[in-house]
C-alpha cells in the first residue's frame, strides 16, 4: 500500500483522555456520555475505544487493512478499500449476512442487533474527511500526538525510528506493519499487544488469498465437470443407442 494514508497510535504517548472516542462519536453522529466512555468494547455505538490495563492504554479501531478481509467476503461488495487508505462500507448494499463480522481477523465490524433494519458499523477512517484532504477526527483532536495521521510509509519509518531510539520503551513490534498483509492503522506499545486482546498468531499474508485459492478454480470446475459428466452420460447410454439401432435394423429387415 504505497502512498496511502494511515494512522499511527503510540500507546506510550497516550494519556487516556478519550478525546478520540468523543470526536469519533461526534463525527459518526453517535451518542457519547460517561456510560459510553466507560465501555471498553467496540460496538455499533462505539467505533473506537481506549482500553486501560494497569495504567497502560491501547486503542481499538478498524485497522483499515490493505487487502481487507471484509471487502473480500462481502457477497454484495458493500466494503471497499479506497485508494486513499480508508475501508468504506455502503449500507445500502448490505443484506445483513454478517460474514464480514465472522471473517474479520480483528473482530471489528459491529451490528445493530436491536434494530429492526440493522446495518454494520465500523470506523471508516473518516473516509469523507480524508478524501477532502483533511485528517481523521481522532488524529485531529489528540492532544498528545498519540494518534497521528499521515502517509503510511512515512508513519512506518517514524514508528521504526521511535523503537530504534528508545528500545527500552517499546516492544519491538509495529502491530499492523505486516499483519494480514499490512494495515492502515499502525500500533506501538510498551507491553505485548496480546494483553489488550490483539492476536499474536495472525498470518502475514492477506486472508482473502485463503478463499481465493479455492474460488479461482470455480469456472474450471464447472467447465471440466460438465465435459466429464456429459462424457460419462454418453458412454453409459451407448448401450441404449445400440439397442435402438438394432431394433431399427430388424424393423427394416422384416
Amino acid at each position: 500500500m504505497p502512498m496511502s494514508k494511515a494512522l499511527l497510535y503510540d500507546a506510550t504517548l497516550c494519556i487516556g483522555c478519550k478525546l478520540c472516542e468523543q470526536a469519533c462519536a461526534e463525527r459518526n453522529h453517535l451518542p457519547y456520555n460517561d456510560t459510553v466512555a466507560a465501555e471498553e468494547k467496540l460496538s455499533a455505538h462505539k467505533l473506537t475505544t481506549i482500553r486501560t490495563r494497569e495504567g497502560k492504554f491501547m486503542r481499538r479501531l478498524c485497522m483499515n487493512c490493505g487487502d481487507p478481509t471484509c471487502a473480500s467476503v462481502c457477497p454484495v461488495g458493500a466494503f471497499r478499500k479506497t485508494a486513499a487508505g480508508p475501508v468504506t462500507y455502503d449500507s445500502s448494499r448490505c443484506i445483513g449476512c454478517r460474514y464480514c463480522m465472522l471473517a474479520c481477523p480483528f473482530q471489528v465490524p459491529a451490528y445493530e442487533w436491536n434494530k429492526r433494519l440493522p446495518i454494520v458499523k465500523k470506523c471508516d477512517m473518516c473516509a469523507d474527511r480524508v478524501a477532502a484532504g483533511r485528517q481523521t477526527a481522532c488524529a485531529e483532536i489528540c492532544p498528545t500526538g498519540a494518534t497521528i495521521f499521515g502517509e503510511r510509509d512515512q508513519l512506518l519509518a517514524k514508528a521504526e525510528k521511535r523503537i530504534r531510539e528508545k528500545p527500552e520503551q517499546y516492544v519491538n513490534h509495529i502491530f499492523g506493519a505486516t499483519e494480514v498483509g499490512g494495515t492502515a492503522v499502525l500500533l506501538l506499545s510498551s507491553v505485548p499487544f496480546e494483553q489488550f486482546g490483539y492476536r499474536a498468531d495472525l498470518p502475514h499474508e492477506p486472508l482473502p488469498m485463503l478463499t481465493w485459492r479455492v474460488l479461482s478454480h470455480v469456472p474450471d470446475i464447472a467447465v471440466l465437470g460438465s465435459v466429464l459428466l456429459g462424457g460419462i452420460w454418453w458412454i453409459t447410454h451407448r448401450r441404449e443407442e445400440v439397442a435402438a439401432a438394432e431394433r431399427g435394423e430388424k424393423a427394416r429387415n422384416s
Partner: protein, 390 residues
Amino acid sequence: MNLSLSQTRFSLWQWIFGLLVLLGLYATAVRVFQGLGGATHLTDRFPWGLWIGFDVLCGVGLAAGGFTLAAFVHIFNIERYKPILRPAILTAFLGYLLVIVGLLFDLGRPYRIWHPLLMWNPRSVMFEVAWCVMLYTAVLALEFAPTFFERLGWRVALRWMRVVSIPLVIAGVILSTLHQSSLGSLYLIVPNKLYPLWYTPLLPLFFFVSALCVGFAMTIFESWHSSRAFGRQLELPLLASMGRVLAVLLAVYLTMRFLDLLHRGALPLLREPRTETYLFFLEIALMLVPMFLLFTQQIRRSAGGLYACGVMAILGFVTNRLNVSVTGMERGSGTSYVPKWTEIAVTLAIIAIGFAIFRLAVKHLPVFPAEAAAPAGETRRTLAAVPAND
C-alpha cells in the same frame, strides 16, 4: 382397535406439529419486531448461530440426496435407483426452499436477499453460495416439475422436460458440487478462529464428501419413513446396496479426516480434556459406528439396521456442521454461544413444516412410482394395522 390406536398416534403428531408451528410463529413475531437482538443470542463476537449452523449448513447438506441420485440414475445410468430418485429430488427441493426460509430469518435485511443478483463480488465465497442456492433451487424446481406435469397430464410439457433433462441434471450436479464444498470454503477465511481439529485447507473437500454420505443416509431415512407412512413395500435390496455405498463413502471420508489431522500435526489435540475434543469424538463416533455396522451383512439385510445406520450418519453429519459453526468457533472468538429458545423454535417449526409438505406432496403427487399412485385406501389401512414395532 389397531386402527384407532394409529389414529390417536397420528393426531398426537398433529398436535406436536401444531404446537411447533405456533411456537415458531411467536418466535417469528419476536424476530420481526425485536430484531435479531431480541430473537437470538448472537453477538458482535459470535455473529453466526443456529440458523446458519443448522438451518443453512445442515439443510443444504441433507438435501444432497437429490444430486447424488440424479447423477447415479441419469448420468451413470444405474437404473435400479430410479424408484427413489423422485423422493430424493423432492427432499432436495424442499430442503433448499427451507434453507431460503431460514436465511430470511437470519439475514438482517431479508428483503434484500436478491442483491447478489445485481451487486457482484466474485471474490466472495458467500457470493458463490448465493448464486448456487438460487440456480440450484431453480434446477430442482425444474427437475421436480415432471411430477407435477404427470399429475396434471401435461404431455407437451413433459416431452420438453425430457429434452432438457440431461443438461439440467449435469447443471444440478455441478452446482451442488460447488455449493456443498463452498459451504466449507466459507470457513477457510477464519484460520485463527476455527479450532484446529476442524480448520483445514481441505474444508471444502470434507464438506463435499460428507454431503455425499448424508445424501445416501437421508435417502435411506426417507424411504423407511415413507414406506411406514404410506404402506409401501420397502425396496430392501436397493436400500441395502445404498448402505454399501454409504459404508464406503464413510470409510473414505473418515480416512481423509484422519490423514488430514495426522499431516497437520493436530492429533495431539485429541488428548486435551475439553469440550472440543468430546464433541469431535461424538461426531466421529456417529460416522464410525454406522460404517462398521454397514460392513456387516446382517445389518444391511434388516430394514431397522439400515435405518439406524442412516440416522446415526445423519446425526454425525449434523454434529460435524454444528462443530464447525459453533463448537469450533467459540474459543477462537473468545466467547460462548447457546441458542435462545426463539432460535430453536424457528428451526423446529421449519423442520416440522418441511415434514408436513413432504407428506402432502407424497400423498397427492406421483412421487413414488406406481404403487403410491394406485388407490391408496386399502394399502393405508393395512399399514395402519401393522403394529409399530416391526
